[in-house]
Each structure stands twice: as C-alpha cells, then as structure tokens.
C-alpha cells in the first residue's frame, strides 16, 4: 500500500457508530489523526472535554463511568505511556470499562528499507513515533487490553465488537486508527 491513501470514513459516520452503541462521554488529548473526529465532537458544546494530559482523561472517564455513563478517551499512541498506570491500577483492577480511541502514529515503525519505507511498506512516520508505533499495540495486548485496527469499512464492526467486550469484561478496549481512516 506504499503511497496509497486508505479509503476514509467521514467523521460524522464514525461518531454516529460510537453513539449508536451508547458511548456518551468523550474526553481526550488532541492528535492530528483524530482531529476530524474531535472537531466533529466539538460541534455540540460540552460533548467533548479536552484534557491537559492523557492520564487525566482516563481518570475523568472513570468518574463518568461510576456515574453511569459510557466513556471514550481519545488520544495519540504517544499518550499511552502517561496512561498505562491508570489503565492498570485503576480501570483494570476496579473493572471500570473505557473505550480508547487511539491515533496510530508510527504504524510500521522505523524506516527499514533504503527508500525510507517502514516494515508496513508505507513511508515511515517522524522519529518520535517509531518506537511507540512499533510496540504500542503489543504493549496494550500484553496488559490484557484488546486492540482493533480497523480500516474505514470495518470501523462500525470494530466499534460493535469493542462495545460487546467492554460490556462483558468491564475493562478497557482500544480502537487504533491509522492515518486517513477518518476524514
């Protein structure tokens, strides 16, 4: 898929799929991949609460869950590091479900070919995303958080599956969005 652009789902439809499964509380930290989704959320005043850092969004979402809401935290994969302790020592042990919608920067990791392409065949992302891009997905799975990496056509199905998992396990699940999946 080198150089090709993935087909995109409009942000309005992507958000509608979340709302259709009952997700009704949104917080997070900005990310260029998630920008269309966050912009769509902010069309309704008060629907999205920006957090200064990702762990604070995870805490805020946990409080909303205790109050009976179904929260989503949006963040770039760079924010996973700040969030890991909260996900493990709060959400996981207290059984507080949370849908993570994560911007997948650095997909494929560092440049691995002479032409600068990474392992996925696409162009490598900026250096600060290489390591988390290569290992973030595995890191989540390692601590028991399931991950979906849908394409545009698979978004609604992935939301369905993640929502069912949250309902059943009452622990976090993650949807990781590559660049261009939502426009």
């Amino acid at each position: 898929m080198s150089g090709k652009t993935l087909p995109a789902a409009p942000a309005g439809e992507a958000l509608a799929a979340l709302e259709a499964r009952g997700f009704d509380f949104y917080s997070g930290v900005a990310c260029s991949i998630l920008a269309p989704l966050i912009t769509e959320l902010t069309r309704v005043p008060g629907r999205y609460r920006p957090a200064p850092r990702e762990d604070l969004a995870v805490g805020l979402a946990a409080g909303a869950y205790l109050a009976g809401r179904r929260p989503v935290a949006l963040m770039q994969n760079s924010g996973l590091g700040y969030s890991l302790n909260a996900l493990m020592s709060l959400n996981w042990i207290y059984r507080i479900p949370l849908l993570l919608v994560i911007g997948y920067r650095g997909f494929g990791g560092a440049p691995a070919r002479p032409d600068g392409a990474c392992a996925s065949g696409g162009p490598a992302d900026a250096p600060e995303h290489w390591v988390i891009g290569a290992h973030g997905e595995a890191l989540l799975k390692e601590i028991g958080i399931p991950v979906w990496v849908p394409d545009a056509a698979g978004w609604a199905g992935a939301v369905d599956e993640a929502a069912a998992w949250l309902e059943r396990e009452r622990r976090p699940a993650a949807l990781m969005l590559r660049k261009g999946i939502v426009s």
Binding site: A51, D55, G59, G63, A64, R69, I96
Partner: protein, 185 residues
C-alpha cells in the same frame, strides 16, 4: 495542628450523601477506619487521579455532591486537573487537599507545598471558592456555608505518628460495585 487522620475525621463527620473519592495511600486507609461507607471510593492506585475521577462524577451527575480527598503530593502529580476543574465549574464538587507537606505513605519524603501555597494555584486556575484551613472549627464553618463550587479547601495538617491504619479490605471491583449501587438513579 491537626494530624492528617484527625482532619479526615473532621470531614468524615460532616458527610451526608456526598460521594468521596479518596486518594492513594493512607488517605484511603484512614478513611476506611474513620468512617467506611458505600459512597467512599478508595482509589488505591493511580496516584494523582482522584480529582479527575471526582470531576467526571460531578459533571455526569450535577445533582450529586462530590468530594475529593486529595493530598499535596497527589495533587502535585497532576496539576493540570486544576484548570480542568476550573474550566468546567461543577457547582457540586468540593476539592479537599490534605496538605501535610509530605509523601507520608511512602515514609514522609517532603513535597514542596511548605514553600508553594497550593491554594494560590487553585485560585489562579479560577476556582470560585478557595480556603486555607487550619482549625477543625474552620472546616465545619466553611463546609456548612452555602457556596456554589467548585470549592477548593486546603487543610494544613501534619503527618500522623504511630502505626498506619490497615490496608483497604474490599476488592477494588467490590468498591466500584457498591458505589455504583449506592448512587444508582
């Protein structure tokens, strides 16, 4: 000056239907001993997140009074929560900071709240009600005074001496369940 546990006891005595989010460490343990109740959430891990949890509850349930029992060290870990709370302005949130100027649960290592007055940070962020309290009667007076929050109540206290209270007994999962059952609308 009150000890931290004495300050917790003064607040605990004033509680009615409030949900109380207790920060990590001895604050949870002391609250469990002083006044265990279904509406207490003992946050045994995730240090620094008691206030964001309280904010999430308060904005999602505006009719429900929410109290955060925070510490100076815990607040300093995630100061970004101060403008977050001030921007949202939940009237039903009271943010109590038990300021004993130390990480007491890990052996009384110093913070720097002896030099930096934390209530000034809350004031600068824009909390409409900010108090620095030292005596039990000050806490009682402020607690009962009608005021739209978010309120920031800094309580200066000193570390307790003697044995620590026992660890939180309930499973974390049970703590979640009993709180959600207690406040189900």
């Amino acid at each position: 000056m009150m000890t931290t546990r004495e300050a917790i006891a003064v607040v605990a005595e004033l509680l009615k239907e409030e949900v109380v989010i207790c920060t990590t460490g001895y604050t949870c343990r002391d609250m469990q001993v002083v006044r265990d109740r279904a509406r207490n959430f003992y946050m045994i891990g995730s240090m620094g997140l008691a206030a964001p949890i309280g904010l999430g509850l308060a904005v999602a349930r505006p009719e429900l009074p929410v109290v955060v029992l925070d510490g100076d060290g815990a607040l300093l870990m995630g100061l970004g929560v101060l403008p977050m709370i001030a921007a949202d302005r939940p009237k039903n949130l009271t943010h109590v900071v038990l300021d004993n100027e130390a990480f007491v649960s890990t052996g009384k290592q110093p913070t720097f709240s002896s030099v930096v007055p934390l209530e000034r940070l809350a004031e600068a962020a824009g909390y409409p009600v900010v108090h620095r309290l030292v005596h039990p009667e000050q806490i009682r007076k402020v607690w009962g005074a009608p005021a739209a929050g978010p309120r920031f109540l800094l309580i200066k206290c000193r570390p307790d001496t003697g044995p620590a209270a026992p660890r939180v007994e309930a499973d974390p999962e049970r703590i979640t369940q009993r709180l959600m059952e207690a406040i189900a609308s």
